[in-house]
């Protein structure tokens, strides 16, 4: 009961602010919250980053493991993105295997990394058809205040940019790994996603949690350094009026460029 009441009050606040041309936390409609990216926070990982996007906070760790290439790409490494919405991060998150929200999140991040071709997957082949590096990107959410999509991709891309690959050699059909000889992972793009909430026919960039609770729909657009689009995802129970779609795309492309600059300046 109280929860419902609280939700209704919040909804009212968010909508009132929008009517007044404002957002509930005082931002402009097209304004991101402050972004703080701290790379190399986990020494045990091959690459890592802590991201703060307003009060949203998460850690991404990249681990490389020797595995077997997929039969249809014998000369390439593999990529696995996983997001854990651990119950520490939000009162509604529950322990257990990833639910549909965690799976959607990790798959959208996965497509951003994969389709931008930011990683040279061929550089992760150790021996064709036999051995390759499997790149595990693990997103660990610590504090959920909205827009996990953009924060997760920022953390993942930063962690990949800082990933160092151990030397691997095949000796007698077995892979010998030398953890002391490290070379940077070959990355060649910096994809950034921009998530826009649709509330009452308004487009709000980088929604905070209070806005996510009331939004009708959400669209996430992932943009490469060249300004090309490599992934799009509409989500949530509402629909997106046709006439707003082009605006949303243009807005996302513009903001992606800006955000990328903000983050790169911190690395």
């Amino acid at each position: 009961m109280d929860q419902d009441l609280l939700a209704r009050i919040k909804r009212h606040e968010v909508l009132e602010a929008i009517k007044a041309g404002e957002r509930v936390d005082g931002r402009d409609f097209e304004e991101f919250r402050p972004i703080e990216v701290q790379p190399d926070v986990i020494a045990k990982a091959n690459g890592s980053a802590l991201v703060r996007l307003g009060n949203t906070q998460l850690v991404v760790g990249v681990k490389l493991e020797v595995g077997t290439p997929y039969p249809d790409s014998p000369d390439e490494g593999a990529l696995a993105v996983n997001a854990e919405l651990v119950p520490l991060a939000d009162p509604t998150f529950e322990p257990g295997p990833p639910d549909e929200n965690a799976i959607e999140l990790s798959r959208v991040v996965d497509r951003g990394i994969r389709e931008s071709e930011m990683i040279d997957m061929k550089s992760l082949c150790i021996e064709e058809g036999e051995h390759c590096w499997v790149t595990f990107v693990d997103i660990h959410v610590l504090d959920h205040d909205g827009n996990l999509f953009d924060a997760s991709l920022l953390g993942s891309v930063t962690a990949l940019h800082r990933t160092r690959v151990p030397k691997a050699e095949v000796v007698d059909d077995e892979v010998e790994v030398d953890e002391t000889e490290l070379t940077p992972l070959e990355v060649r793009d910096f994809p950034v996603s921009v998530t826009i909430a649709l509330v009452d026919e308004h487009l709000l960039v980088d929604p905070c949690l209070d806005e996510e609770v009331v939004m009708d729909a959400r669209i996430t657009v992932t943009v490469t350094e060249e300004g090309r689009i490599c992934a799009v995802q509409k989500g949530e129970r509402g629909s997106l009026p046709e006439h707003l779609l082009d605006d949303a795309i243009d807005l996302a492309v513009k903001k992606a460029e800006e955000i990328r600059g903000v983050v790169k300046a911190q690395l």
């Binding site: 994969r114 989500g235 997106l240 795309i249």
Partner: protein
Amino acid sequence: MPEEEPERLISEDGLRLDGRKPDEMRPLKIKAGVLKRADGSAYVELGANRIVAAVYGPRELHPRHKQKPDRAVVRFRYNMAPFSVDERKRPGPDRRSIEISKLSKEALEPAIFTEYYPRTAIDIFVEVLQADAGTRCAGITAASVALADAGIEMRDLVAACAAGKVDGHIVLDPMYYEDGYGEADVPLAMMPKEGEITLLQMDGDMTPEEFKKAVKLAKKGCKIVYKEQRRALKRKYGEE
């Protein structure tokens, strides 16, 4: 995935591997009311896709604390039969089908007057018996007809269709090879009457302009699908 990559997906005279023009859809057949037990059902053939959808509900929702006092809860389960794909698929949901189920639910829910059915569940099941490319769109298309067949009140039917980028061309309704070797895929669902987009995804590589063009083409495909959906319902229920 096709075993060998075709040299080119679009021929010199602008035709596709299966002889279609870029803006041409694959043959589409829709039939409403194909199951006896379900409250509503539909069957869709799109190219080599074979898809059955069923709707149960509005019906009681257990456990009670999941009920919504002001609306129906819509649930959606997309499932592939083990024999529907080249390599046998192990039964049970994988990450891909969990994501598709979530997005398909969100693609259909805007069309349903859920507020007419408080405290109930509307369950939608889509079984893919044979998969070519485009099963998520064909599944939404089938589910929408099944919802109508079940007598669920809706703002509009939801029609779904994909566009893609293949050899640099924007094409409608990519088939298997085009999906596997093409440059991008853009599945889209909409309520054509209201012009509302309810599903939109993309993965691949496109300029913003190409993406907008693909969206436009996919919308055109949705209108063709929409016509077939209405025709299928008319065949079962007579003139509207």
